[in-house]
């Protein structure tokens, strides 16, 4: 990471240059120290799939995968993640081919307004890799960080339960990129 002082030399307003791999693409971006990862994605990179619901880490609409682990992107500073690998909802499909989780959300009508959906899908994708959800009750508990104000929980649960085997199959057979999403300690 390189740091460029502000024109008047005030270190508070310095710009920090980061290199990030976002959805498989190498990006170089300048941020202020106080820019959250979510604001960087939405405001600077126009990756507006990750939503700002509460901006306090309570709703999960901003969930992304950072080095394979699901996090709330509203509660972390971009400057702390130079060199990291990020997956947002924009990187979940394989081109035009939807991810099994995306297909399942459509099949089970797992949303009404859709605002929480990107966070729900990113969260479920990471949960599959963690491999601690072995029952419907486990899924409910481990998806508790993603709120849905429309109350589509039953269908969300159906969709995730339906897609989990396919997600796990994909994790086993594929791709270093997906394989890295596992976060079991």
């Amino acid at each position: 990471m390189t740091t460029t002082p502000a024109a008047d030399g005030d270190e508070l307003f310095a710009l920090h240059t980061l290199r990030l791999n976002i959805n498989g693409e190498q990006r170089r971006i300048q941020v202020h120290a106080w820019t959250t990862l979510l604001d960087m994605l939405r405001e600077q990179l126009q990756l507006t799939g990750s939503k700002k619901g509460c901006d306090h880490g309570q709703c999960g609409a901003c969930t992304v995968l950072l080095d394979g682990k699901r996090i709330n992107s509203c509660l972390t500073l971009a400057v702390m993640h130079d060199g990291a690998e990020l997956t947002t909802i924009e990187g979940v499909a394989d081109g035009e081919a939807l991810h099994p989780l995306q297909r399942a959300f459509i099949k089970h009508d797992a949303f009404q307004c859709g605002y929480c959906t990107p966070g729900q899908i990113c969260s479920a994708l990471a949960m599959a890799g963690e491999n601690h959800a072995h029952s419907r009750a486990d899924i409910r508990e481990q998806m508790s960080g993603n709120l849905c104000r429309c109350g589509a929980y039953n269908n969300i649960l159906d969709a995730i339960e339906d897609a989990l085997p396919a997600c796990r199959g994909e994790l086993e057979t594929s791709a270093p990129a997906l394989g890295k999403r596992g976060s079991a300690a």
């Binding site: 202020h32 880490g57 999960g60 969930t63 682990k69 996090i71 509660l75 500073l77 508990e141 960080g145």
Partner: protein, 329 residues
Amino acid sequence: MSPFSYARPTAVQEAVQLAGPHARFIAGGTNLIDLMKENVERPQRLIDITGLPLHEVADTVDGGLLIGALVSNSDLAWHPRVQHDYPLLAQAILAGASPQLRNMATTGGNLLQRTRCLYFYDTATPCNKREPGSGCSARQGLNRNHAILGASEHCIATHPSDMCVALAALQAQVHVAGPQGARQIAFADFHRLPGDQPQRDNVLADNELITAIELPAEGFAAHSHYLKVRDRESYAFALVSVAAALDIDGHVIRQARIALGGVAHKPWRNPDAEAVLIGKPATAANFRLAADLLLDGADGQGRNNFKIPLARQAVVRALTDAAQAMEAA
């Protein structure tokens, strides 16, 4: 958020040299960033400690565990030795927050999270913890979540952590580094009661950094239970929580640990409540004696009076579950 400068040291001594009253260490950031958004915290400098070599979990020579301050809550909860030897700690961690937050939050940071008292967060209201001398809005306000033990006229806030309740019961040691070198603090001495200085949550100096948490070998794996009572099934702070751990020889209790969360400015223990169980059988009647001693002196603020009988019953249930833990497993 107010502007701040940013530093990313790579050595512990470098980090503590950068510290001071207007600087804050940041790692997981799950509480600090939120407080900065609300202007409760306005540090002039953030010291990003995620580049320090404090990410390891290692066995100690005496059979315990040394947990680096930067180990995430998730990694710690699912660590094989924690799952096997310290299930009380694993249960407590997994009872807190959400998977996303647990992936971000660190072991050291968990100890340093601030109260979730509404008035501490609301900068338009008086709060002695946020603005010493301004008054306590919670005493006459919405105090359903507030302390029933160890509070003062200046502050009735509670410590929000689940993990710390288990660490108190397990008698962990907090390893700390400062400009003058390293020291260790017994867990019971780490957090403070509010007294007339509620702005101080713990005994750390501004320039001291938590480097590790050490667990003794005794993890009470056979007979422990973390019980969390909250307003909804998941992803909510405790109204009352109990970390209960027993060492049982046949039918007789050899050693007991009971820590309460959600009821005080720190995880609450009382040696008398634990001593009364030694040499006695694990019965509900004896557990009720322990609960009465642990709740001795409890005092409600009105809206939180319900916590007193709730805590008493939760202690009995947690001890009962702990006593049966091995049979059930």
